[in-house]
Amino acid sequence: MSEHATSSRKFYVGIGMSLLVLTSVTVFAAFVNLGPFNPVVALLIATIKATLVVLFFMHVKGASEKLTAAVLVSGFFFLAILLSLALADYLTRAWR
């Protein structure tokens, strides 16, 4: 992976700051009544934060290794299989 030029320190600190800002946004948003969208917003922000970490801190963006993205996405894909098919049972239990 040595081809990827690590970015400047300023850039990393910037990403770190935006992560902290997003954290406070999450806490703030939790106290605003968004009806059913509260968990959606919380998860959306968490996903944005996770994506920032993956792309810039874990150097997936700009890596010479093309397979890492596929590997990571596969992990989340199979997790999604577990959750969605489990819900296919739990959400339809009450169907008469």
């Binding site: 690590t6 406070s24 106290f31 934060k49 970490v53 890492t68 590997v71 992990g75």
Partner: protein, 235 residues
């Protein structure tokens, strides 16, 4: 875990030479990196089992989960989140220092990372202690009397279901804390090795891979924080 540790030992510690079964350094490095990412995928699935349980029970017992979640301290949770995010930043800077061959900076950042990790664990310890005091630890002594406020009236919640929430809370944060402890140990060892000058701009794979592990533990917390601490807080 043991895997990344073994990976760090993969190249002879004092002699960053190529292992006999690889053709060149690039191949070795790519192999180690791919192996680490696969290990991270197993970690995702490992926590995924608990996320699945969380999702199912949150849907089934929402009121109890909300009421129980509101017993957690957002202050401590948010503080810990910030601590972890900053530690991720220091890890990245450590990797950068390693790539630049700056030994002093590398060691400094690794030590800061470990200290931040320990800070997280200490805060978590205080949170756990508070659970014990308030009988929020699942088991025979568990008691829960708070109610869920749905905006119009206070609905009493079934303490058993609240106990289910705290069971998940302890399982998920406990497993996460275990990973943090392993990570702290790992970085301590790496800091010692770095101090002894094992790493060079040509060879710092262990730092990189341990960093990947730490970031993943961070990402898991990024999800745990809103899911455990911020259920229906606007009421």
């Amino acid at each position: 875990m043991a895997d990344s540790h073994a990976t760090t030992l993969e190249p002879e510690a004092h002699n960053p030479a190529l292992l006999h079964h690889f053709a060149d350094a690039q191949q070795q490095k790519n192999a180690a990196s791919l192996g680490m990412w696969l290990f991270l995928v197993t970690e995702i699935m490992f926590f995924g089992g608990m996320f699945c349980a969380y999702l199912v029970y949150r849907l089934a017992h929402f009121n109890a989960f909300a009421a129980a979640s509101q017993q957690l301290s957002i202050k401590l949770g948010a503080f810990n989140t910030a601590v972890l995010l900053v530690s991720s930043l220091t890890v990245v800077l450590a990797v950068k220092a390693a790539e630049a061959g700056n030994r002093k900076q590398l060691v400094t950042y690794l030590v800061i990372t470990v200290l931040l990790g320990l800070t997280f664990l200490v805060v978590k310890g205080f949170e756990y202690a508070e659970k014990f005091e308030r009988h929020h630890v699942p088991g025979p002594t568990f008691s829960f009397t708070d109610t869920f406020d749905d905006g119009s009236q206070k609905i009493p919640v079934n303490p058993n279901e609240a106990q289910l929430y705290f069971s998940l809370y302890f399982a998920m944060t406990g497993m996460h804390a275990l990973h943090m402890i392993i990570g702290c140990g790992l970085f301590t060892v790496l800091a010692v090795f770095a101090w002894k000058g094992h790493y060079s701009p040509g060879y710092f794979t262990p730092i990189e891979n341990a960093g990947l592990y730490w970031h993943l533990v961070d990402i898991i917390w990024i999800y745990l924080f809103p899911l455990l601490y911020l259920i229906s807080r606007h009421r």
